[in-house]
Amino acid sequence: MNKHQNNRAGIRAWLNPWRYGIERFAYWLMRITGIGLLIYFIIHIYETSSILEGKEIWNKMLDLTQTTEGHIILILVIGMATFHTINGIRIMLGHGGIGIGNASRPDYPYIPKSQNMKNKLCIYASVGLAALAMLYGAEVMFGE
């Protein structure tokens, strides 16, 4: 069976966050922020290891990272970490069956209870708090 006949939606189904509501957007953002944070974490371990090379190399590393671009990246990391944390807690609770409603005889128009307002609000809050954290981070880094 060739790939075309196989008809899997493929990675483009991951990359399109707009088709199935805010929950799918949260799924997409969770993945993106997870990958972003892992990349940052590896770079962070590398950059901090320069402390072993002495003051001169450490300062050179600071000159490289404590720039406008470096600060913007750090602000993005703050946003990613905040969203990943709060949405991660929502997902963890959901995975345990907490906060997703109770099973009952479904009635038309069949609005899924697992996608209830609590979950939606939590996603909005994760995005909102991530934005606030980024603003605070920007204030700390650029405001001094």
Binding site: T48, K55, W58, E144
Partner: protein
């Protein structure tokens, strides 16, 4: 072979643990002016505090486990096949161990003043 449920319980536990510890780590940047806190001497003082070094080591371990397991999950969903899955699993494990070793070296040497 570890059961997938055990791996995922570790995934959740490392997530919660790292959140708590990273908060403390970030708060350390606010004990003084952010830019001052990154000065060579101040960072060395941080490392010289044993509880802080232990905190850094724990963060390193927890996030490495969580991050590389997350990467493993994404890669396992991306493609399938026995050889591919074995390669992904062991590559993620090796990368995790390598990163923990590399980061631990920094923490250990800096905390012991071997600079």
């Amino acid at each position: 072979m570890i059961r997938e449920s055990t791996i995922m319980k570790i995934h959740y536990a490392t997530a919660l643990g790292s959140v708590a510890l990273v908060v403390i780590h970030i708060l350390f940047r606010f004990t003084q002016n952010f830019h001052d806190s990154l000065k060579f001497e101040n960072v060395l003082i941080n490392y010289s505090l044993l509880p802080y070094s232990i905190l850094l080591e724990l963060i390193l371990i927890l996030i490495s486990i969580h991050g590389f397991n997350g990467l493993r999950i994404i890669l396992l969903e991306l493609n399938q096949g026995k050889n591919y899955e074995t390669l992904v699993t062991y590559s993620c494990l090796a990368s995790m161990i390598a990163l923990i070793t590399y980061g631990s070296r920094t923490i250990l040497m800096a905390s012991m003043g071997m600079i």
